[in-house]
Amino acid sequence: MDGDTDISLLGDDALLGRVAAGDSAAFAALAARHAPKALKLAQRVLNNAADADEVVQEALVRVWTGARNWVPDGRARFSTWLHRVVVNLCIDRRRKPVHADIADVPEPVDPSPSAAHLVDRRQTSTLVAAALAELPERQRLAVSLCYYEEMSAGEAAQVLSLSVSAVESLLARARRALRARLAGPLRDAEGA
């Protein structure tokens, strides 16, 4: 390969080929390209920036160690694989017993309609974040991937190792649950 090639112009598969050969510059370029999205996803799933950083750090180490096994057959995308690793690490982390820092625990919000009248936008977002956090794990992941990361149901299905119809079912159930949990703010929004 030409040594003068601008690494940042190379595709993911080409960079992974170099990573497999021990090229740390290619690894840095690949990580810089995908880490921001991976961090956002991990933080949405974990609700904690520090935990998200650790998860993505571990996922990047797995990219290095697993690069040799990557087969660039055009069917699988590196970003999908990375997101799958991140999601699995997030699930593992959430299942571990944790002693949360008191500063990370959001203030409890009264979800009654009368209280919702008083909340400003910030409090509303806190309420929505709490409702999202209360969703069952796979429903929350489906919303995070499809709504916030704007993945298609097909991509989310690959990340979650599910069928497309299963992801669509998770999305429908998640939105139903969110509508029920956020009934107060939704009424206020309609009344406004």
Binding site: A32, L39, K40, A52, L60, W64, S125, L171, A189
Partner: protein, 203 residues
């Protein structure tokens, strides 16, 4: 037909929200029908308003802040972990636990007897095995010889000084098959001595 379309539209907004831009590509063909149908179908219009309000609430959650410094820190820590992994992979293997723990005197004796000798193939055989067997055979022969030299000595000396009758018996035994250790142990002298000791005890 119109009823089916409404059901499809309700299913789409129930999964992907009220914004057709979030719908799957293969569902984009239904997008123009949504606003049109909502004007005439009150049920669909209400469902659309609900989903639009939910979309607005979901959008109120701020996006996690990911700046360059944060990405650089995560990358640097990952590279540190990779360097540690690479260093560990390049390090020669540590001595086995079996080797490290086997420091007992018996193990050292076994080693001295050739137990730990490197196995070298010679003519289809193994030098280590032969060395081990040689040491074992030599050690066994040395042990037997030592036993035969030391065991009869006190008996002969005491016999010569205590009783002539028994001394001749021992002399006879001595001129016989002196290498037969069991015979020496259960010789007539030994039996007589045992009998005399028993008589003395009765007295």
């Amino acid at each position: 037909m119109a009823k089916t379309d409404t059901r499809i539209l309700k299913r789409l907004i129930g999964r992907y929200g009220a914004d057709p831009r979030r719908w799957p590509q293969d569902a984009a063909a239904h997008a123009p029908a949504l606003a049109e149908r909502a004007r005439t179908d009150a049920d669909l219009a209400r469902a659309l308003a609900d989903e639009r309000a939910l979309d607005a609430l979901l959008s109120s959650v701020p996006e996690p802040k990911v700046d360059t410094a944060r990405v650089d820190t995560v990358l640097a820590l990952a590279l540190r972990d990779i360097a540690v992994l690479t260093h560990e992979a390049a390090r020669p293997p540590a001595p086995s636990r079996h080797h490290a723990l086997n420091t007992s005197p018996w193990h050292r004796l076994w080693q001295a007897l050739g137990g730990g000798a490197a196995t070298i193939k010679i003519g289809g055989g193994k030098l280590g095995e032969w060395a081990r067997m040689g040491w074992l055979a030599g050690a066994t022969a040395a042990g037997l010889a030592l036993g035969m030299i030391t065991l009869p000595q006190p008996a002969l000396q005491s016999a010569a000084t205590t009783a002539p009758a028994t001394a001749t018996t021992i002399a006879g035994a001595d001129t016989g098959d002196t290498l037969d250790a069991p015979s020496l142990l259960f010789s007539p002298y030994a039996v007589d001595t045992l009998g005399a000791s028993a008589k003395d005890a009765r007295r």
